[in-house]
Assembly symmetry: C2
């Protein structure tokens, strides 16, 4: 639809963005040594965030939206921790690190054979959306809350996968392909950020490539 | 945030998109003759949609996201019908009409002094998202549902407002400025499409311009 737009191409180009996705069977999945998590509990995490904040100020998180095809429907790749929490692959930036460098580092750390692998292999594309929150609160907003002086930000990036690759995942994490239709508005299971991903992708034409 | 990205500028540009918004007080609001609605009831509407479908096939709807500033927070302009239903300004395309031409026509029809006014005055920008549905069902999906052969599509476009203009609204409609924070995830009051707008805007840096 809308392919008959001829005027004003600079503004309609955006509406025609495409993403090619490949069958899940094109990818190889293996495991590697477990990742050591820094915090045992939520309160440990908050303590660590506070001390990091004191040392470095606010840090941005970057997360990746990775898609594959299964049963003719786009599926989102999610990491699952302890058979419960779902996360998009990603994490916090180091002080001074760019969004793209940080996301590549995190993706290699969590999804590649070697942490020091070829990070350029990750094709980090456009920012799809951002979520903001008060310093140490859990409530997320898709806009900068009016009363917040020092917000924390999570940015989502579209990462286009090649037609084949290996995913090597720490053995204490599971990498799952979940249908967009299951994720959409399913806040309870997937949380605010993940359950909103189908909407952020809605302007893209998703092409299923048969191999 | 993210302003320190220097590599790979083609893919980070998208993450830096900006929207300038102006105070509500910069705009003039007036009224004009009521719009005649084609349907009295939902069942009238479905009957009309079916007969249109038989005559023209499926038609795309286009809707505008228009922002103003009030109390230092971005507000979304919504039309309200009968003190109840909220709608983004827009409507269905005519057969063969482009997204941009159709949206400009609808915006002039609902928000300008004259229907035949200068439609180019509306700066229709990028597509923010799309919603799909089965032919005559009301359930909306932000992805093409796998089983649907002939989906209907609603496309949302960002329309940047100039620093001043007149809005002349049919007297049976109200034009309201609603804070993004009130719209966000408020499905009950605003419906699926409108309540998702803050998330679709989240990748933009919204600049409040003081006049």
């Amino acid at each position: 639809m809308g392919d008959d737009d001829e005027h004003n191409s600079s503004s309609t180009d955006e509406g025609r963005k495409e993403v090619d996705i490949y069958p899940l069977s094109c990818y190889y999945f293996g495991s590697k040594e477990a990742i050591v998590f820094k915090d045992e509990t939520v309160s440990d995490r908050i303590t660590r965030m506070k001390s990091n904040y004191a040392a470095y100020g606010l840090r941005t998180s970057v997360e990746a939206v990775l898609l594959v095809e299964l049963f003719k429907h786009p599926h989102l790749l999610l990491l699952q921790l302890n058979n419960s929490i779902f996360k998009l692959p990603g994490g916090r930036l180091r002080p001074g690190e760019t969004d793209i460098d940080g996301l590549r580092r995190k993706l290699s750390n969590k999804l590649s054979a070697s942490r020091d692998g070829n990070e350029a292999e990750w094709e980090v594309g456009e920012c799809l959306g951002m979520w903001w929150r008060h310093d140490f609160e859990t409530l997320l907003c898709p806009y900068l809350p009016p009363t917040v002086k020092k917000p924390k930000c999570t940015k989502l990036f579209l990462v286009r996968l090649p037609e084949s690759r290996k995913f090597i995942v720490p053995e204490n994490l599971k990498l799952l392909a979940v249908p967009l239709s299951q994720v959409h508005e399913n806040h309870k299971t997937y949380g605010t950020v993940i359950s909103g991903v189908p909407q952020l992708l809605s302007k893209y034409s998703i092409n299923i490539i048969d191999i």
